[in-house]
Amino acid sequence: MLEVEICHMKMRNPTVLAAGVLGSTSSSLNWAARSGAGAVVTKSFALESNKGYPNPTTVEVEGGIINAIGLSNPGVEAFKGELEKLEGNVPHIASIYGSTPEDFASLASQVEDLVDALELNVSCPHAMEGCGAAIGQDPDLTSNIVGAVKKSVKIPVIVKLTPNVTDIVEIARAAESAGADALTLINSLGPGMRIDPETAHPVLSNRFGGMSGPAIKPVALRCVYQTYQNVKIPIMGVGGITNYQDVVEFLYAGASCVQIGTAVMYHGLEVFQNINTGLEKFMRDKNYQTVEEMVGMAHQM
């Protein structure tokens, strides 16, 4: 009943472990799959290793957290060792980042055989120089990167977009035109900041960090709704989802499935099973046969 299919990937349920939440090792990805996730996305990795920012890299705020981990990763060579050990009967999606179309294309080719799809992280609000949101805020750059990756691999290419732009629809259209097979909306919001009132120190070492958690759900939902009206490719909704009602909202707004991240902080990996159980009950009560029936329903209202 909960099965969905996105870019020809069959998922047993519509809940996906979001990029950057655990996911830096095969161990944690396999654990998420065992815990009930319908698919898993790795933490973003690049050609070279990166230690990320000094701590503090995460601090709580009202309704969520802000983080500036800074895309730490051991580099593609080491990460391939992780990808080789992926288990579980779920689609595995590799999140990759870089600063040029060539970076992205090279990464994509190197891991194509080890995963079921790619998610291009062109939208990290706390990436270091030349990576991250700077790309996803520019339709041309986005388009070039998507085009380069599409040329170099056959597996589905999903593009994760930042909400921190004047018009997300413009970027979504650019990604679609360049051949993206699906979109993930949204990466973390803001960025935001927290200052310690005792000392006047910005808490994060990077000062600014991307917001995630329930507080960003309304914005994520609007981005999904707006984008659904303007593109044809499927959307993975992400942003503040913590319970099955949230999933229902995202499906109604036009997401074909959802990603879950910060909820793991509040509820642990059990959150996947809890959401799926709740969603199944809801669908029975409402006489839905498939998740797909619910997708985009808010647009008929």
Binding site: S28, W31, N55, I69, P74, M265
Partner: protein, 276 residues
């Protein structure tokens, strides 16, 4: 809306006093009160804080927990730039504490062997005091390279524990590794449980010893940490995936069997594996 309880924010506190424990270890005491209106919890032995010195933030074990005095102590061994900067601090200087995080040691059984190696004595000391105060008989091995580095011996004697110092160079107490002394004590005594914290190589040997004696044991592990709230994945251990900051840092021996990287390697800030 009822106001959120926001817990994962550093609380900037003034250092109440600094105790020089050894030439390389200082304990920093902080006031810690638990009021209904705030979100503090009193930590339990084995839990840790993320300690923020306004330029970096690292996990540090709690070495002393005193709800009566309303204070906690964090013992810091000088090993690098971060801990060097901490060692320069004095009474009334400020540090940020975020936590307490992780699960602590469980107190069970009526006679316990506690083993602390080096700065691993920090949580073992807190545990020894907590267990002793509950009437449990605790024998505590405090292991160091040399006599001047022996930690907390007097304090733990006062708490009612039997303290067994051991030094690598034989300058004080038993001469040899903590694991050798532990094996000797386990052979002689009738213990219900072992708890341990120290270098992972030491704990790995101790783990094998406790397996041999078929005695339940808890071990406190350490990994590089970033978020400490269970989402960044930095401290996940192979192959089971558990997070040191949430499922750990203390594990039972049978849990350790599922942590294949235990005693073998750990990941650095970028996620690259470094062998022990």
């Amino acid at each position: 809306m009822v106001k959120d309880k926001i817990m994962h924010v550093p609380q900037v506190l003034k250092i109440k006093r600094v105790v020089e424990e050894t030439p390389t270890v200082k304990t920093f005491y902080f006031p810690w009160e638990v009021k209904d209106e705030d979100n503090n919890q009193f930590p339990t032995p084995g839990q840790f804080f993320m300690v923020w010195n306004f330029s970096d933030e690292k996990p540090m074990s709690i070495s002393r927990i005193d709800p009566v005095k309303g204070e906690i102590g964090i013992s810091v061994k000088m090993v690098g730039p971060f801990t060097q900067s901490l060692h320069k601090l004095h009474e009334n200087d400020q540090l940020g504490l975020r936590g307490p995080y992780g699960g602590g040691f469980e107190i069970a059984g009526s006679r316990i062997l506690a083993v602390g190696g080096g700065i691993g004595m920090a949580p073992v000391a807190a545990f020894t005091e907590a267990a002793s105060s509950r009437g449990v008989k605790v024998d505590t091995i405090t292991a160091a390279t040399t006599q001047s580095e022996i930690l907390f011996a007097e304090r733990l004697e006062k708490a009612g524990a039997s303290v067994f110092p051991t030094t690598d160079d034989g300058s004080h107490g038993f001469c040899g590794f903590a694991t050798e002394l532990a094996e000797k004590l386990l052979n002689e005594g009738n213990y219900d449980m072992v708890v341990a914290c120290g270098p992972e190589i030491m704990m790995q040997k101790l783990f094998l010893i406790t397996e041999k004696f078929q005695i339940p044991a808890q071990f406190s592990l350490e990994r590089y940490m970033k978020c400490a709230v269970g989402i960044c994945g930095q401290c996940c251990v192979d192959d089971v995936g558990w997070r040191i900051c949430v499922e750990g840092p203390v594990f039972w021996g049978d849990q350790l069997r599922m942590i294949s990287e235990f005693g073998k390697y750990r990941r650095d800030a970028s996620g690259i594996k470094n062998k022990f």
